[in-house]
Amino acid sequence: MNEHTPSLRPALPMHLWSRAVAAETGINAASCYQCLRCTNSCPVSAFMDIKPHQVVRFVQLGQREKLLECSSVWVCLSCEMCSTYCPNEIDVAGLMNFVKNSVIASHKRPAEVEIALFHEIFLEVLHKYGRMNDLQLMQRFKLKTLFTGCRPSYAEVKKDMELARELFQRGRLKLAPERSRAAREIRSILERRHGRVISS
């Protein structure tokens, strides 16, 4: 057995995990015959470590750990090309999303911390105001990523500042965030979440 083969062996008995996924999500990965239509239609497959058709294959094979560690699911844009064009009606984007949810629920560090943190900060702003605000989101996200080891270069920071100035001058950045009167209701929904993004 060479170094490439072990990944193709089921890590869990297949019927356990792929059936559990089907029961939880209603998505039947078993009907995939690897036509690659999902990967070919994906606008970001070039940026993925495991391609969409491989994600489906890994679900079939019960390779849960491998999927929880991949970056593809975080790179996925949920543009739903794969789910729309699958001839066997497998909701591939739904599988990707299920893996993302599983990473968070099992308290693992996401392979793409910055992307996951962006989602986390989005919910943080939502928790506070009940609505999104671009300036709050950007400020909090930039500040947060400074402390996670993904340090932007001086040139990148300068570019961000220039864009922010330009947007501010054109009235596109709203300094006072809008608050929904129902922010409290949103908080009670958000607090039902399973897990948090682990960034370190």
């Binding site: 543009c79 989602h119 605000n133 570019k159 947007l167 009235g171 709203k174 809008e178 949103i186 979440r193």
Partner: protein, 288 residues
């Protein structure tokens, strides 16, 4: 007078206020009354479902409840919100999620751009055009969320949507065919992973220009922001000596209706379209 419940979404309240204002003005000119859902909250967008799908559907659900209180069909301005609301509505109908609000779900959920392109609205639009944009060629860009997945959005024309094309034609302009109508712009990925955002936006802009477009007409605040705000950086990076204005369909209609208040919003675009309007209107058509 047509009345509808209206869900603007967060983008229209902050960065994309130009969409909100142009929408209000065009709706006013067409005698369409949009009643904002009271105390509406964020739909959760991509972030909420990426972290916890079960929790995420509760966010649009409470907005559906707010809309139901108005007893009117719900029109949604932002495609992302529309998709999340449509998905939630379907899950509630199929009883796949809890429903503490006991929703009836007996009113329609509409994508606002598609509603504007309905036969009766098109007729009203044609009657309002004061400055037909006869010299303008555009491509229409729909993005992902109003068309995919068709099981949720209910669209049959997901490969080649045409409703924005019809609005463009009603404004007197020409909508050119191209292959990227529903190709993803990268959504919010440009913030955590800029190289992905830049790559996807560059592909769209190059394709639009190759199709001979002088502007891109959009219906999504996220698409507009990506295509507009990343252009200065792409111009520098790629050495492009051209730029493409990115207009909401409501802005295009506002210009064709000759509503002077549209210009305030246009001034907020990084690629400022104001200088082109005279040329778009073609020859022999007076501005006022």
């Amino acid at each position: 007078m047509i009345q509808m419940a209206y869900y603007p979404g967060c983008a229209l309240q902050s960065m994309s206020w130009d969409y909100r204002e142009s929408l209000k003005q065009v709706a006013g000119a067409l005698d369409l009354q949009l009643l904002e859902v009271e105390d509406w909250t964020c739909c959760g967008a991509t972030a909420a479902h990426s972290l916890d799908e079960r929790m995420a559907v509760m966010l649009p659900a409470r907005n559906l409840a707010g809309a139901e209180a108005l007893g009117l069909p719900l029109a949604v301005a932002c495609p992302m919100c529309f998709k999340r609301l449509a998905l939630t509505r379907k899950m509630l109908q199929e009883k796949r999620v809890d429903d503490p609000w006991r929703l009836k779900l007996d009113r329609n959920l509409l994508d606002l751009a598609r509603f504007f392109a309905s036969a009766r609205m098109l007729e009203k639009i044609r009657a309002q055009v004061r400055r037909p944009l006869t010299a303008l060629r555009v491509v229409c860009y729909y993005g992902c969320q109003v068309v995919r997945p068709p099981k949720i959005t209910g669209t049959t024309d997901y490969e080649n949507p045409r409703h924005l094309d019809r609005l463009v034609a009603a404004a007197g302009a020409a909508a050119v065919d191209w292959s990227y109508k529903a190709t993803c712009c990268g959504a919010s990925m440009g913030i955590p992973k800029k190289q992905i955002g830049l790559a996807l936006v560059a592909k769209l802009l190059v394709a639009a220009r190759a199709a001979g477009a002088q502007a891109i007409v959009v219906c999504c605040p996220l698409c507009q922001s990506n295509l507009d705000l990343l252009q200065p950086e792409l111009r520098e990076q790629q050495g492009w000596e051209w730029e493409l204005p990115i207009l909401y369909y409501t802005e295009l209609l506002g210009v064709a209706f000759n509503l002077p208040s549209i210009e305030a919003g246009l001034a907020g675009h990084l690629v400022d379209p104001r200088g082109f309007i005279e040329a778009w209107a073609g020859e022999g058509v007076s501005g006022q």
